[in-house]
């Protein structure tokens, strides 16, 4: 992909001011932008987020369900509300996967 137009520092400042930033905010924005370029270490928080999400997915896989994420959270919410701690033992998995989020939430 070729970059066709270069935005100079002066043009950038003008734009930032136009977007409502004052001189100090403009300066900070440019400083932050420049500093960010040297950010090379992996974003640990984002990596942790990906792993967390994956862990939840693997929980679903392990339990033999084929649920969407929304269905899963609805299910968890339902059991939390109803005070039932052991979820999958009390629900017929084959019936569950055919249910909508609303139906699960109304269990």
């Amino acid at each position: 992909m070729s970059i066709e137009k270069h935005v100079t520092e002066a043009q950038l400042k003008k734009r930032l001011r136009k977007s409502g930033k004052n001189d100090e905010e403009t300066k900070q924005w440019i400083l932050q932008y420049t500093k960010t370029a040297h950010d090379e270490s992996p974003d640990e928080q984002a990596i942790a987020g990906i792993l967390q999400k994956n862990q939840e997915d693997s929980v679903l896989r392990v339990k033999g369900f084929s649920l969407t994420r929304e269905q899963y959270y609805a299910l968890i919410g339902h059991f939390e509300e109803s005070g039932k701690l052991v979820a999958d033992q009390q629900i017929d998995a084959s019936r569950l996967v055919k249910m909508t989020v609303e139906e699960i939430a109304n269990l």
Partner: protein, 586 residues
């Protein structure tokens, strides 16, 4: 293979009757015409054959009378046994080692080596003739050449044990002639006649002395040595595709194979010599096929093209030196200060499918000594090179060298002024010497290097590629295919990614192909110390890459996590509504 057809020219060559013809006709065309006219019932001889035979049988130096008897090895059985274990490729590099050493000692100009293999004909048996101009063999160096265990070592040389040359020539054939002309000295010849190393030949087997001879005719040019090995062993003929039953590789294949092998084994040596302003040329001729050795690029250049340069787990270049006193009964002081310098290049390879890359080889540590590859039996993959190493305390254990660690590439380049200090196997330098004086130091250093990369050995290729040289050679479409190759990304998804600000930045990303420099023997070599990231951090990054397989959206999330700078800049640019073809220039 020689045919049974009557061949008058071959008869003349064999009987010595061709000499007057060569004397009379200096022009090959005229000689061919004369022979074909004189023997109309015989198989016709070609001009090319005349040319080759003139060079081989007429122009070659001829042995003269004995000038001196030289004590040779009293341990013929040792040479015989060791020679029997050498394969052709290894024998030839042992001979080339001596040539390179002699060249470095003399530095007469550009080094030119021709290795010519003559197939068997009706006129003569098969023969290997090596002609080289490394400076000639000095009179005082004849003893090391013929006696076992004597080696005239040159600084940073390759010859180490005083056995290589002798074993190598006898690994190839039964009769050996060496002709050499050292500047300012009378040209000399050494002749090991057929039967010299044959226990069934009672008269020659019990003879220890080797004659130093004058050269009767056609002495080699000053600074030139010619080594002729005749009566080649059956396995040598087989390896060179010259045996009767041979049905496998053609001479062309074998020529090319040898050229590739030499080009790899002497790659570092070649670049070292050429940097000093000298040229090196090795030509292989088998019958009518000629192949010139093309030397591989230097190790560092090749690695730069194949490793992945993630800023937080980039390849290292570690230089360390050791010195120990070793007992040397042969030397006056009985103690010698052995010194060894080790340069290690290591990292994770980005790809496995490139023929030229390091990756197609089995996993392990590649080893070089004074510019010559010596892990010829395969990379070193046992605990001696740090695999499976147990660190003390809670340091953990290294993995074994298996298919799952093949992404870890380690190359150790050893240099030593005294070639005995290089940890290569003896007497054939084709393996790592596990009895090296520096065994423990080498093992520990390599173990630390393996530990640096072990947690990332299974990193997904698609996530590593943007940090590789290969990435810079791809088209945008190829980059998109690599990034999403293990996901469910549709063509539209890839296109949308390519048109996003982050996507554009990533596609334009150029990795910094720079090794992390380390020096010193006792440094704390951990991922935290070297790369500023914890072991857990590395494990999580690798695990997360695996977790994002299949989902294109998660791949994008992951890429943003490992390119946080690009992701953040893209986000900031979107916030100020930069249009797609605009780029901030600060």
């Amino acid at each position: 293979m020689p045919s049974n057809e009557q061949n008058a020219w071959a008869d003349l060559i064999r009987s010595g009757g061709a000499v007057p013809f060569f004397d009379t006709y200096s022009d090959d065309n005229k000689l061919a015409d004369a022979i074909n006219a004189a023997f109309p019932d015989s198989a016709p001889v070609t001009v090319e054959q005349i040319r080759q035979d003139r060079q081989r049988f007429y122009g070659r130096p001829q042995l003269g009378e004995v000038s001196e008897e030289q004590e040779a090895s009293p341990s013929k059985q040792v040479i015989r046994n060791k020679a029997a274990q050498l394969i052709v490729h290894e024998a030839l590099v042992e001979i080339l080692d001596n040539i390179f050493d002699n060249f470095e000692r003399n530095k007469p100009g550009n080094l030119e080596v021709q290795l010519q293999v003559y197939p068997e004909t009706q006129a003569a048996p098969a023969e290997i003739v090596i002609t080289e101009n490394s400076g000639g063999i000095e009179k005082k160096r004849i003893v090391p050449l013929v006696q076992l265990g004597f080696s005239e070592r040159s600084a940073r040389g390759i010859g180490a044990w005083g056995e290589g040359f002798k074993m190598a020539v006898f690994a190839l054939g039964e009769e050996v002639q060496v002709f050499s002309a050292f500047p300012g000295q009378e040209p000399i010849a050494i002749h090991f006649p057929r039967g010299w190393l044959d226990p069934s030949n009672l008269s020659l087997w019990t003879k220890w002395k080797v004659n130093k001879l004058r050269i009767a005719k056609n002495p080699p040019r000053e600074g030139t040595t010619i080594i002729a090995v005749r009566h080649l062993h059956t396995q040598v003929l087989e390896s060179l595709g010259l045996d009767e039953k041979h049905k496998g590789k053609t001479s062309k294949d074998i020529c090319r194979e040898l050229a590739t092998y030499f080009g790899e084994v002497y790659a570092e040596k070649y670049h070292d010599i050429t940097e000093k302003g000298y040229g090196v040329s090795i030509q292989i001729v088998i019958g009518s096929i000629t192949e010139k050795v093309k030397f591989a690029a230097p190790v560092k250049t090749r690695l730069t093209k194949h490793l992945t340069f993630m800023p937080w787990l980039c390849p290292i270049h570690w230089i360390t030196e050791w010195q120990v006193n070793v007992e040397e009964p042969d030397e006056e002081s009985r103690l010698r200060a052995a010194k060894l310098r080790m340069e290690v290049y290591a990292g994770l390879t980005a790809t496995f499918d490139d023929f030229q890359s390091y990756s197609p080889h089995p996993p392990g540590v590649e080893m070089w000594g004074n510019g010559r590859l010596f892990s010829l039996k395969g990379r070193i993959s046992d605990e001696s090179a740090g695999w499976g190493y147990r660190f003390g305390g809670g340091g953990g254990t290294n993995p074994a060298a298996t298919a799952s660690t093949r992404r870890i590439v380690i190359v150790a380049l050893f240099t030593a002024d005294d070639s005995r200090d290089i940890p290569w196997a003896a007497p054939v330098k084709n393996d790592y010497n596990r009895r090296s004086e520096f065994y423990a130091e080498i093992q520990e250093t390599l173990a630390k290097v393996i530990r640096l990369y072990k947690d990332a050995a299974t990193f997904l290729r698609g996530r590593l590629m943007p940090f590789s040289y290969e990435w810079t050679q791809y088209t945008d479409q190829e980059k998109l295919d690599v990034l999403f190759n293990d996901s469910d990304a549709s063509i539209e998804f890839k296109q949308a990614f390519a048109n996003s600000r982050f996507g554009r930045k990533l596609l334009a990303f150029e990795p910094d192909l720079v090794f992390h420099e380390i020096s010193g023997a006792d440094i704390e070599c951990t991922v935290l110390r070297i790369h500023g990231i914890s072991t857990t951090g590395i494990k999580n990054v690798v695990k997360a890459a695996e977790a994002t397989k299949e989902s294109a959206q998660q791949v994008v999330e992951y890429l943003k996590a490992i390119f946080p700078g690009l992701a953040k800049q893209a986000q900031m640019e979107e916030e100020i509504r930069l249009v797609l073809d605009e780029e901030i220039e600060l």
